[in-house]
């Protein structure tokens, strides 16, 4: 690995200022994604060779979580996933979130990998991850997935670039309507997570709204509500240590056996976490049974535009949507 400079940030303001000053500086959390990226020397016309790592773990108070019945859950972006998957308040009040925090990779990666890092990790498209492929996302002029093997690529919303969103935690947090706190040179702001991710249409070289010198500081999850049923499923090729072929997180508010409100998100299928709005509309006000679950999943996937090798993902997505609806029932 080539050498890079290391800077231990002392505060969020310090980190932001350092990033603002150095265009080749990059925030570092657990490093489980970023260090591999640098080691494999993934660079391109719009993907610079990072020279300075700004460590966020050294910022006081950046890690840890708080829970209260009124306010819900607040999680520092630098909190390791392994802390969250076993946290008593999370397991008891948001069991589906605890499942999602335990879903990525392997225990050792979750020990170092942080929630902020998981949400902000770069996609896993194997061309993107191969040093020789200069594709759109690195600023090149080609998408290798279109003509090459694409069994793990997007079936929905792909355009120019067909990555799938890699994060297991994002769809679960989105299903809970979480918010992200962001700090930048102009101060702090809070945005719904549903406005946080951007697709290739907006900017093919980025996956979030964050500017170079902006950072995610905290995730806020609303307090749990009565009558809510949740479910989380992840389909992989390998039992552990594997990215999702498809995953589904569902949040259903049920009243008198009828669906009053719902949020259903998928990852592994589109460049951003994908909201299954057609499913939500189809089940609204209805009682979920096998037939409705099937109808909702099928209607959602009419939207799918699979590539040459990944049509199977459409059916896997349907199967997982059905399972999520029926389990939450």
């Amino acid at each position: 690995m080539r050498s890079v400079k290391y800077y231990a940030a002392t505060s969020w303001g310090d980190a932001v200022a350092t990033l603002a000053k150095y265009p080749l500086a990059k925030p570092l959390a657990g490093g489980s994604d970023l260090l591999g990226w640098i080691k494999d020397d993934l660079v391109g016309p719009k993907e610079p060779r990072w020279e300075i790592l700004v460590d966020l773990r050294t910022i006081e108070g950046a890690s840890g979580y708080r829970y209260s019945q009124g306010d819900g859950l607040r999680i520092g972006a630098l909190t390791p996933l392994s802390t969250l998957e076993t946290a008593k308040e999370i397991v008891e009040n948001y069991p589906m979130l605890a499942k999602a925090f335990a879903a990525p990779a392997s225990p050792n990666i979750r020990n170092v990998g942080t929630l902020g890092g998981n949400i902000n990790q770069r996609p896993r498209c194997w061309y993107l991850r191969g040093p020789e492929f200069s594709c759109y996302k690195k600023g090149g002029d080609f998408c290798f997935a279109v003509t090459g093997m694409n069994q793990y690529h997007a079936i929905l919303d792909g355009e120019l670039c067909y990555i799938v969103h890699p994060s297991d935690t994002a769809p679960a947090l989105l299903a809970f309507d979480a918010k992200a706190k962001i700090v930048g040179p102009r101060g702090e702001k809070t945005v719904p997570l549903s406005e946080y991710f951007i697709g290739p249409r907006v900017d093919v070289t980025r996956e979030t709204i964050l500017a170079h010198d902006e950072l995610m500081t905290e995730i806020q999850v609303p307090a749990p509500q009565p009558g809510v049923k949740t479910a989380y499923f992840k389909a992989t090729n390998r039992e552990t240590y594997d990215f999702a072929i498809v995953n589904v997180a569902s949040w259903l508010k049920i009243k008198d056996n009828l669906v009053e409100d719902s949020r259903i998100y998928l990852s592994g299928v589109a460049p951003t976490p994908y909201r299954a709005t057609i499913v939500e509309q189809t089940i609204k006000g209805k009682r979920i049974d096998e037939a409705l679950a099937r109808q909702a999943a099928d209607q959602q996937m009419v939207r799918a535009r699979p590539m040459s090798d990944n049509a199977y993902k459409v059916d896997i997505a349907k199967a997982l949507i059905r399972r999520a609806l029926l389990e939450a029932n």
Binding site: A235, N237, R238
Partner: protein, 742 residues
């Protein structure tokens, strides 16, 4: 026979050193004034090199030298055929080929400088697949093939075929006419990486006179010495190659990799040069298992008789044949394309084909997992088609003592059917299973290894020792030698020290490979230990002035006629003997392995979960149960990875899986329950009737799993790996066909 040390579960000689991080692997060695090398690699699959500009790299602070193919004497590397240039000259033939090299004060600078070397290419048409390479008018990768050193047989005509072999007997067309059922299928298997923990590394320290000291990760240091010397055009005595501990080999560590480059870099800067391959380099430019396409057409009668078997197998060599050691450049799996089955008419053709992709090499049982996946899938499909139980079908057709295999091999002590039955029994073959759960069986075998090796045994002031020229690749081979010698000398295994020797101080040693270690080194260690004991007894008898038969040997000590035990060293001082064992006269045996896999398939996602694997073996005497079980468990896991997830796909000439996140090997959660069954009454040519185990357990697993998937949900996957999406698609097609019938 009752043994005291042989058959005991003893820990590995170097185990404590390895688990505490104190073992000195090649990459751990630091020499004073050492410099660091890095390689500039081709970014195109086939191209003419127009120019190489090294000026920016040379100008970087800390850079000591930059070399290209034009700066060094021309030289090609290879284990048999020498077709791989040390550094490309004029032409590159795969993405990842070495084009230039840099040496610098530290690793980071070397890597940064390698990036600063600018190469201008003129792209040439490439043959990226075997189909492209064999098509009429295909670009010829090696127009000068006939002039290469090490090419066996007559020079081939201008084509991309590196080697071709045919065998068979009878008349397959006549056989197919007699068949009740004929199945023809094409099986494809991907490249597989060995996945060892330790990447290839080397350290080369040249002297002004051109001699050099070499450390490298290589299981055959004496052959590496010859390979490197030939490539460099120097006498092999100029290279002192050390035997180093190997952090996993699985067949992949038989080539010299960066050694010739490091030699030239060391000469260029006058300092020792260390080079360690990154795992990206491992996945894109090391010596992975050959991808293959195997077409089989097989005819059977309703009673299960195999009347005709026709095979065309294509193995993808990549751009070079340099990593294949066999004198014929074949893979040994070629000879198993009909397995160990009785077949009335056979016609096999197999080709090794050059393509513009990274060169393939040897991996654990070269060619066998490919051949056996195809064969055992094919036989299973036939059995199901004639509605015969797959175990019964195999029982009827496996060869018995006195019969030869389709490739003409004949063994003694053939225990194929006993091994199959042992596996079926342990697996509860025939008992009912829940829905979507299935069982599959597959059979393979591997010989007990062959060749000659020398081992020295001695006694000095520190005690007994053995000296070998072979490294322990992590399999526990040194422990086996220790145990065998300990048994012979009547001492505990830890009372014997293991020493290794470098290439200038020890007779030529063939090294590790072909499952020969337990047999050949074991027998050599046994002979050396026996000779040491006899020599000590003779010399001690002379010293005591006693007839030899008046002296006893007990627990490594001398027993005098008065009953007193005496330490032999105090009587005769240091002593050393040397023995060579040659397997030439040994009986020709093989060791069978039958596996039964039990899988559950999720019909909604296609995901295959392996629930249980039974692996039955006729290994002969187990010398070390820990090592033996480790070989089986590890082999089954490697076979499971091959079956379900491992592949190095090449897209437009580029490898798509360049890290362990993309290249998936089984993780803990994927590993099923394993039950090992060993046949009683050991027979074998090795020490204490041992056979081999290393290259057997990884071979039948993929076919057993594929067969179990068909048993579970009725779909047959003929392309490895059997991923969820392939099973899912096959299930979909099956349902669509079902609808059409209505």
């Amino acid at each position: 026979m009752v043994h005291t040390t042989v058959g005991q579960p003893v820990g590995q000689v170097a185990g404590p050193l390895k688990v505490t991080g104190r073992a000195t692997y090649t990459a751990d060695i630091r020499l004073p004034n050492m410099a660091y090398g890095a390689v500039v690699r081709s970014t195109l699959p086939h191209a003419r090199i127009v120019s190489i500009d090294t000026s920016r790299a040379l100008a970087m602070p800390g850079v000591l030298a930059v070399i290209t193919g034009k700066d060094i004497p021309p030289g090609r590397v290879g284990r048999r055929i020498r077709d791989l240039p040390i550094l490309a000259v004029d032409v590159v033939r795969f993405v990842g080929e070495r084009v230039a090299a840099v040496v610098a004060e530290d690793q980071a600078t070397a890597e940064a400088a390698a990036l600063a070397v600018e190469v201008e290419y003129e792209e040439l048409p490439a043959a990226l697949t075997m189909r492209d390479a064999l098509a009429p008018g295909a670009p010829i990768l090696h127009p000068d093939l006939a002039s290469y050193d090490g090419l066996p047989g007559a020079p081939p005509q201008q084509s991309n075929v590196l080697s071709r072999r045919t065998y068979g007997y009878g008349d397959v067309d006549e056989g197919f006419r007699q068949a009740d059922v004929i199945i023809q299928r094409r099986y494809t298997v991907p490249r597989q990486h060995q996945g060892y923990l330790e990447p290839h590394a080397c350290l080369v320290s040249t002297a002004p006179d051109g001699t050099a000291e070499v450390w490298l990760t290589n299981k055959t240091p004496f052959q590496a010495q010859e390979q490197a010397a030939k490539a460099l055009g120097i006498p092999k005595e100029w290279l002192k190659v050390h035997v180093t501990p190997i952090g996993g080999d699985f067949g992949g560590k038989g080539s010299v990799m960066d050694v010739p480059v490091a030699y030239h870099l060391s000469k260029a800067c006058g300092r020792p040069v260390r080079m360690v391959m990154s795992y990206v380099e491992e996945f894109t430019a090391a010596a992975s298992r050959h991808a293959a396409q195997i077409t089989m057409k097989t005819g059977v009668k309703r009673d299960g008789t195999i009347v005709a078997h026709q095979v065309r197998a294509l193995f993808d060599s990549g751009a070079y044949g340099a990593f294949k050691p066999s004198p014929t450049l074949e893979l040994m799996g070629n000879t198993r394309l009909g397995g160990a089955y009785r077949m009335e008419n056979v016609a096999v053709e197999s080709l090794i084909v050059y393509t513009n992709t990274f060169p393939a090499g040897h991996m654990r049982a070269p060619g066998l997992p490919q051949a056996i996946f195809a064969l055992e899938s094919q036989l299973d499909a036939l059995a199901r088609t004639i509605e015969m139980d797959p175990v019964e079908f195999r029982r009827r057709n496996l060869i018995r003592e006195g019969e030869a295999t389709p490739a003409g091999e004949q063994w003694v002590q053939v225990r194929a059917i006993e091994t199959l039955e042992a596996a079926a029994r342990a697996a509860g073959w025939g008992t009912p299973l829940p829905e979507n759960v299935g069982r599959g069986v597959a059979v393979s075998e591997h010989g007990a290894g062959a060749g000659a090796s020398t081992v020295q045994a001695g006694l000095d002031e520190r005690g007994f020792y053995l000296r070998t020229g072979a490294p322990d690749t992590g399999t526990g081979s040194h422990t086996i030698m220790q145990q065998v010698a300990a048994e012979t000398l009547g001492v505990p295994h830890h009372a014997i020290r293991i020493e290794t020797s470098h290439t200038l101080a020890f007779p030529f040693d063939f090294g590790v490979g072909g499952s020969r270690v337990t047999h050949v080194y074991g027998r050599a260690a046994l002979a050396a230990a026996a000779s040491l004991r006899d020599t000590i007894l003779q010399r001690a008898a002379a010293a005591f002035d006693l007839p030899t038969d008046q002296l006893g040997w007990e627990g490594g000590q001398l027993r005098r006629p008065d009953g007193r035990l005496v330490d032999p060293f105090t009587v005769i001082g240091p002593v050393e003997v040397e023995e060579t064992y040659d397997s030439a006269g040994a009986p020709n045996v093989t060791g069978f392995c039958a596996q039964v896999a039990e899988v559950r398939v999720d019909p909604e996602t296609g995901k295959v979960e392996v629930l249980r694997i039974v692996s039955a073996h006729d290994t002969g005497q187990v010398i070390n149960p820990i090592g033996h079980e480790g070989q089986i468990a590890g082999g089954v896991i490697q076979g499971l990875g091959y079956a379900l997830m491992e592949e190095l796909p090449v897209v437009d000439g580029y490898v798509a899986t360049q890290s362990f996140a993309e290249y998936k090997i089984p993780a803990m959660g994927d590993i099923p329950e394993l039950e090992i069954v060993l046949l009683p009454e050991p027979t074998g040519p090795g020490p204490f009737a041992a056979k081999s185990i290393g290259e057997t357990p990884n071979v039948p697993t993929a076919a057993a799993i594929a067969n179990a998937v068909e048993d579970a949900v009725g779909v047959r996957i003929v392309d490895l790996p059997i991923t969820a999406e392939k099973v899912f698609r096959a299930l979909q097609r099956k349902h669509e066909h079902g609808h059409h019938h209505h």
